[in-house]
């Protein structure tokens, strides 16, 4: 029998690969909790894949670190007063990684591809009626109706420019062969293991200072931190707030914090009996100890919400935060006739931090008599449940659900319309609490149909003043993004939307 054992040992040894060499040099390892789903920008729905695509491809416009719109492949742009015509002058002398020239024709190929309606991000170009080529380096978008947030649509990762030659060659297989104009050239994607991008030696904006970046998915928080501490990753995101204590005294590690555009709130079912009463919803806001939830459930990595969308978005107007005042909350409950409280169901995705936050909200609402049970489920089930609610029947089940939103276009419209307008009732968009108010619909439309910053600012200011007090949500907080990196790495930053930029990455001694 002994021989059998040795056979197993031998088998194990045979199966183990010969050691290969450690690649040294200016090669960076980026460890993240996310996995790459696709590298076709027009068909990308997640922030992480979109951020990698941004290192390979560029759009006419882009965002800087603070989410301001900047021209990239477009040199300059102009638009008419009614926000129906947008003209772009393109930068000259830029070529894609495969040698194809960047020009008006290339823009048209990309926009036409989006406009076929086949892709996840086709909706970005839905307002476009026509794309005109004025000359080789000038294009003009003509819109069906006024659309004030159109510049944001063009800065979105869904509107990145792919090489027309690559699109011709690969068709939709371009998702595994992305070719752009960006600082890095796509090299290899081993599904489930990593994505590797290499330096573009002919980058039009200047010299790229590192040789390659490898994006590795490491879902477990503790392991990601261990990789950084052991020097096996240069940059990790997210850095779990609970574990900051482990690295803050490490001389080789630096923690980066970045305010985000991700707001968290409790969705209140405004069609159900007690929650349909504005006073009850205000009482809930008074009863929530936002700071305690941030400190305990979120590891301190957030700031209390002080408007219906985060301050990093344009047209933000400060409102709060809503004071924590249990006495006032009780008074409002009494006024509304619910002195003895009522029962609700607490719904939450089962990620630990969100579960903790919901649990704390439940503990705090108990003080004003609102009691209930938690139902936690995986994210897919959670959104399935919420989006299957019907306007007619949702009122029968009072629920409070842990919600969150990030405006992927970086614009105020996308931070309000999908969440608060009547047209956004499920399943159409994400107004899961069925909040309905004609005044809100009017203001959202006013902000959408103008490109004039003054008009838009006025509409969104009024909208924020109004909705804040209507309390369709239990306002919680705005996430602070935390990344950590080795100190000799410079130039990689988290972006407010949870993406990142690697263009200026550099390894110093």
């Amino acid at each position: 029998m002994k021989t059998k054992h040795w056979m197993f040992v031998l088998l194990a040894i045979l199966l183990i690969f010969p050691a290969s060499l450690f690649a040294q040099g200016k090669d960076i390892i980026y460890a993240s909790d996310s996995t790459t789903n696709t590298l076709d920008p027009h068909n990308t729905s997640d922030t992480y894949s979109g951020a990698i695509e941004r290192a390979i491809c560029q759009g006419l416009l882009g965002f800087d670190k603070n989410l301001n719109i900047i021209p990239l492949l477009a040199e300059s742009y102009s638009y008419n007063e009614t926000a129906t015509e947008y003209t772009f002058k393109l930068r000259k002398g830029i070529t894609f990684h495969d040698g194809a020239p960047f020009n008006a024709q290339a823009v048209k190929v990309n926009i036409d591809r989006l406009r076929t309606g086949k892709y996840v991000r086709s909706s970005l170009m839905a307002p476009v009626k026509e794309l005109q080529i004025i000359d080789e380096y000038t294009v003009k978008f003509i819109l069906k109706e006024p659309f004030g947030a159109f510049l944001n649509a063009l800065a979105h990762p869904g509107a990145l420019m792919l090489s027309p030659a690559a699109l011709e060659k690969y068709g939709d297989e371009v998702r595994i062969h992305p070719v752009g104009t960006g600082p890095f050239i796509f090299s290899e994607w081993v599904s489930g293991s990593y994505v590797l991008i290499k330096k573009n030696p002919n980058y039009w904006r200047g010299t790229v200072k590192v040789d390659s970046i490898k994006f590795v998915p490491v879902p477990e928080n503790g392991s990601r931190v261990a990789m950084l501490r052991a020097g096996q990753a240069h940059y990790i995101y997210p850095m779990p707030a609970e574990l900051i204590k482990l690295v803050e005294n490490d001389p080789k590690i630096e923690v980066i914090k970045q305010p985000s555009i991700i707001e968290r709130y409790l969705i209140l079912n405004t069609k159900s009996k007690p929650l349909s009463d504005e006073r009850v919803r205000q009482a809930i806001n008074y009863a929530l100890d936002k700071q305690a939830i941030i400190n305990i459930a979120w590891g301190g990595a957030a700031t209390p919400a002080d408007s219906i969308f985060p301050s990093a978005l344009p047209f933000y107007k400060k409102q709060g935060p809503w004071p924590y005042d249990v006495a006032k909350a009780k008074a409002l409950m009494k006024e509304a006739g619910y002195e003895n409280g009522f029962k609700v169901v607490f719904l939450t995705p089962n990620a630990t931090a969100r579960l903790r936050a919901t649990e704390m909200a439940m503990q705090q609402l108990k003080a004003i008599g609102i009691t209930g049970e938690i139902q936690s489920m995986d994210v897919a089930s959670f959104y399935d449940k919420l989006s299957k609610n019907k306007k007619e029947t949702v009122g029968e089940t009072p629920f409070i659900a842990f919600g969150g939103w990030s405006s992927s276009t970086g614009d105020a419209d996308w931070a309000t319309r999908p969440l608060l307008s009547t047209e956004a009732f499920p399943p159409n968009m994400s107004n899961y609490g069925f909040f309905q108010d004609p005044n809100v619909d009017r203001l959202i439309k006013a902000g959408l149909t103008s490109a004039d910053p003054k008009i838009r600012a006025k509409a969104y200011a009024e909208l924020q003043d109004y909705v804040w007090l209507k309390a369709p949500w239990g306002y919680l907080f705005v996430d602070t993004l935390i990344a950590a990196k080795s100190k000799n790495l410079k130039g990689i930053y988290p972006m407010p939307d949870g993406a990142f930029t690697v263009e200026e990455a550099e390894l110093v001694q």
Binding site: N221, G222, P240, E242, L243, K245, L246, D289, A292, N295, I296, A297, P349, N350, T352, A353, L355, R356, E359, M360, Q363, E373, I374, Q375, S376, M377, D378, S381
Partner: protein
């Protein structure tokens, strides 16, 4: 001894109490059960009472096992949690064992088509990873503890069936079964009187091992949001919820971890003692 009637129970007890370690383990389990029953009396604090100002305090004179993220007393939660964890572990394995042992016996004894049917069905069951199975059960029945018990139970069935079947195959061919058969014993008599006791050794050992595994499985299910819903102080859930703090506040995981560890150990040693005491070959 001569004036006492020798009942099977006495034989069992006589043999069992010789196993000192099993006795200790048995006492531990008994104490655990008592602790679970009398948790409201002996727990120093309310296991659900939160106090944010006491969040994540290390063990102290007031809180022997420290406090958790919400400032709840961990010791009190462990005592209350004993009820839930024991209930989940015992009942899920019990259901799995009863069904599994029966199927394994039938399968091994009759062989042929029945064997084929049962074993292939158990293959299918095996093929479904436990976590997927749990998601399915919860999808159909809704989240909650009772459904977790079912999910874990179903997962145990095929292993019990295969172990018992393997032993049945061996014993079926043994001399004493052949002897019994030649003496005209009925199928059911051979199966339950002659074969079953011989197969139980393996099954009991697996039973005791499985209780620990079940508690841990419940923990991973809790982590997936399919197990005990917060604030229920189930041990596995306490462990899973606290893993974000490993390295920062280790007492959050260590104490529920120790509770699980000792419980599993006790069941193992106890099961071992049982096995020896049941064994007719040991005198």
């Amino acid at each position: 001894m001569a004036d006492k009637t020798v009942t099977p129970f006495l034989i069992f007890w006589h043999k069992f109490k010789r196993q000192k370690s099993a006795l200790v383990a048995g006492i531990f389990i008994l104490l655990l059960v008592l602790a679970a029953i009398f948790a409201p009396v002996i727990a120093p604090y309310d296991p659900y009472a939160t106090d944010y100002s006491l969040a994540m305090m290390p063990p102290s004179k007031e809180h022997w096992a420290g406090t958790d993220v919400f400032g709840r007393d961990i010791l009190s939660r462990i005592l209350y949690g004993a009820r839930i964890s024991l209930a989940v572990g015992l009942s899920s394995v019990a259901i799995g064992a009863i069904v599994g042992v029966t199927l394994g016996l039938l399968s091994g004894f009759f062989g042929g088509f029945l064997d084929e049917l049962i074993m292939r069905t158990s293959d299918v069951l095996f093929a479904f990873p436990g976590i997927l199975l749990a998601i399915a059960v919860v999808a159909i029945l809704g989240p909650g503890l009772v459904n977790v018990i079912f999910a874990v139970a179903i997962f145990s069935i095929p292993t019990f069936a295969r172990i018992v079947r393997g032993n049945t195959l061996a014993i079926k061919e043994s001399l004493y079964v052949r002897a019994a058969r030649s003496m005209g014993a009925s199928n059911s008599r051979i199966m339950f009187v002659h074969i079953m006791p011989g197969t139980l050794g393996g099954a009991i050992v697996y039973f005791t091992l499985r209780i620990g595994t079940s508690i841990l499985t419940a923990s991973s299910l809790s982590f997936l949001g399919l197990g005990a819903q917060p604030p229920t102080p189930e041990w596995g859930a306490m462990l899973a919820e606290s893993r974000d703090y490993i390295g920062v506040a280790d007492h959050l995981t260590i104490f529920p971890g120790i509770a699980i560890f000792l419980t599993v150990l006790a069941f193992n040693i106890f099961g071992d003692g049982l096995r020896a005491a049941f064994d007719p070959k040991i005198r």
